[in-house]
Amino acid sequence: MTTAIPTYNFAYLDEQTKRMIRRAILKAIAIPGYQVPFASREMPMPYGWGTGGVQVTASILGPDDILKVIDQGADDTTNAVSIRAFFERTAGVATTTRTAEATVIQTRHRIPETALIEGQTIVFQVPIPEPLRFLEPRETETRVMHALEEYGLMHVKLYEDIARHGHIATTYAYPVKVEGRYVMDPSPIPKFDNPKLHRSPALQLFGAGREKRIYALPPFTNVVSLDFEDHPFQVQSFERPCALCGAEGVYLDEVVMDDKGGRMFVCSDTDHCETRREAGFTGVQTAEAAE
């Protein structure tokens, strides 16, 4: 065998690639909500596993950063574990599960409950960056629609929802308008998280590897969820608090307890839940267990 054993650069990507991605990120920050094409690389994890987010994170990560990776709000889901291990191995950076301690947070499908602060960066993994894609499958068409600010189709879709169901039937990846200009896909976060995008002090970056697009929300950007005057945007609300920590006004996961319809609801954000429990908060179930 003559094949050389490969060696890898800090955070896996070579510096040329990082520079290319950083340029795309800077352009994305300069035009909030605009999808910047970039020469997405083939990563050692599959497309759909967060290759866009991983490339963005790899390009902005420095040796002093503290990285948090979540999937579905949790630090311990297998893909979050795997991506965190990837950066521990290739960049040797410190990692954390604490939202407040992290300088870079890579996420799939959630924004942490703990409000992000200035200086933090959150990187979203994006499957389909184009909010108009399911209304118009052609990229050549949707680019023109964005250029002309031609978003009527999206409003028609939302209106049809109301006509058919009485309300807008989009519950996640709910489209937003950025600084009154670009309609943007916030990635498949539940619409519950949409208000957190608005005027966030943190830098918000979105990476779509397979679709080769990067977009961004610089800190304090206006982000408005699309709606109608008579049908204002509303987030989900849960009827009960977290069964473990008693938190209200947070996003909950439904856990099936048995085959007789038993259910419990617990925080989707595991760090939020653990921090509260450490501080002495309890929920219905923890109270029962203590008795």
């Binding site: 065998m1 003559t2 094949t3 490969p6 094409p37 970039f38 020469a39 997405s40 690389r41 083939e42 050692p44 599959p46 497309y47 759909g48 596993w49 999937d71 579905q72 709000g73 311990d76 889901t77 297998t78 893909n79 979050a80 574990v81 795997s82 291990a85 799939r108 499908h109 959630r110 499957p127 990229e139 050549t140 169901h165 009485g166 039937a169 519950t171 996640y172 990846a173 498949p188 976060i189 539940p190 519950f192 397979r210 080769k212 989900q236 069964a243 996003y251 909950l252 996961d253 439904e254 856990v255 307890m257 319809g261 419990m264 617990v266 989707s268 595991t270 839940c273 179930q285 267990a289």
Partner: protein
């Protein structure tokens, strides 16, 4: 009592360990060697190199072994390695006219300079499972012809001399595009299109090509020529002022000759569909040439009505690594979004039940909502 699931890390570790165990299989059976894979599963190695778009038989054999024979997984391994390699530059166009030919056939001429050469083909085998495959019976070596210096011109060159087929096009001055280095934009140039097809999924291209034969963008194709063999790869060396051969690759080239009516500007002449693939991969090269021709519809003023003519549709979906990733990512957790949908469905069911004013329906839906 529910405890938030922990131990993703241990689970992943154990899964990898079990995978390695299954990959190795029965320890009393000797492990596959790379020589065995590269030598005896050579067409699998060729496919992994072609769709991995990296010419390295040893590496491809390693990837096939690592992937337990799952070729798309092997292609993925090669791609993920390829992406880390530095780019030194572009080679000169390979001269397939000067190929050291192992197989060369034409369906348009009975005989031509250089002749027809069947080479190592399955074409006229009877597909009967050979009992000898269960054992290791001695196999005679292939017959070799004396090396001939007779030229073996491409059939398209023979047609081109009489102007019966469109010219091959001018060589662009710039380096050809590279879709792995620049984001793809539509409409793409033919260079990028051919690159995408050449590394595209064999099965996808085969089906698309088949669809053109069944009337979805029919192009009346003839196999002008298929040739398989070794070509030199040359790189211009500005330091020394001439091209230097840096290696040799096995290629399959297919030149499809297609009908064309001509126009007010052009006299009637045949048109081309082109396929070029690493290794011995005739099915892929033929499919590629049919799809290439279908994608050129605009050039000939043909109406674009079929999937195979739709550049964005074909190119955006031809890459099996992208496709398998996105299809398979559905198995990743989606419970946050599912929870949101669950909530909505329950709400809609409640609303429908109360609107229907049916006592019975209401109680069922209330139950479901608990």
């Amino acid at each position: 009592m529910y405890v938030a699931v922990k131990g993703g890390e241990a689970a992943i570790g154990n899964a990898h360990r079990l995978l390695a165990d299954r990959r190795r299989g029965d320890r009393s059976v000797p492990a596959l060697t790379l020589e065995q894979i590269a030598g005896q599963l050579a067409l699998a190695v060729d496919r992994a190199m072609a769709e991995g778009s990296l010419y390295d038989p040893d590496l491809a054999a390693m990837a096939i072994r690592q992937s337990r024979g799952d070729l798309i997984e092997a292609i993925f391994l090669i791609r993920a390695y390829r992406t880390t390699l530095p780019r030194f530059g572009a080679s000169r166009p390979v001269d397939t006219g000067a190929m050291r030919i192992e197989r060369r056939i034409s369906a348009t001429y009975k005989d031509m300079p250089g002749g027809q050469l069947l080479g190592p083909t399955f074409d006229y085998t009877h597909r009967l499972i050979d009992p000898a495959m269960a054992t290791d019976e001695p196999v005679a070596s292939g017959k070799r012809r004396a090396r001939s210096d007779d030229p073996c011109p491409r059939v398209t060159d023979i047609l081109g001399r009489d102007g019966l087929i469109e010219p091959d096009g001018e060589l662009p001055v710039d380096e050809p595009g590279d879709l792995t280095r620049e984001p793809m934009e539509f409409p793409a140039g033919r260079d990028l299109r051919l690159q995408a097809l050449s590394r595209g999924d064999e099965g996808f291209l085969l089906s698309l090509a088949y669809s053109t034969q069944r009337g979805y963008a029919r192009s009346h194709p003839f196999v002008g020529e298929i040739r398989i063999g070794l070509v030199d790869v040359e790189v211009e060396m500005p330091e020394v002022g001439f091209a230097v051969t840096i290696g040799r690759v096995r290629l399959t080239e297919c030149q499809m000759v297609n009908q064309f009516q001509g126009s007010s500007k052009e006299p009637p002449q045949f048109t081309r569909g082109y396929g070029l693939v690493f290794g011995q991969s005739e099915r892929k090269a033929m499919a590629m040439s049919l799809v290439d021709r279908a994608l050129r519809a605009d050039e000939f003023g043909e109406e674009r009505t079929a999937p195979a003519q739709d550049e964005e549709f074909v190119i955006a979906h031809s890459d099996n690594i992208q496709a398998t990733g996105f299809v398979e990512h559905l198995k990743l957790p989606h419970y946050v979004d599912f929870q949101a949908e669950l909530d909505l469905v329950r709400r809609m069911r409640r609303e429908q039940a109360s609107a229907g004013d049916s006592q019975e329906a209401r109680s069922i839906n209330c139950d479901a909502a608990e």
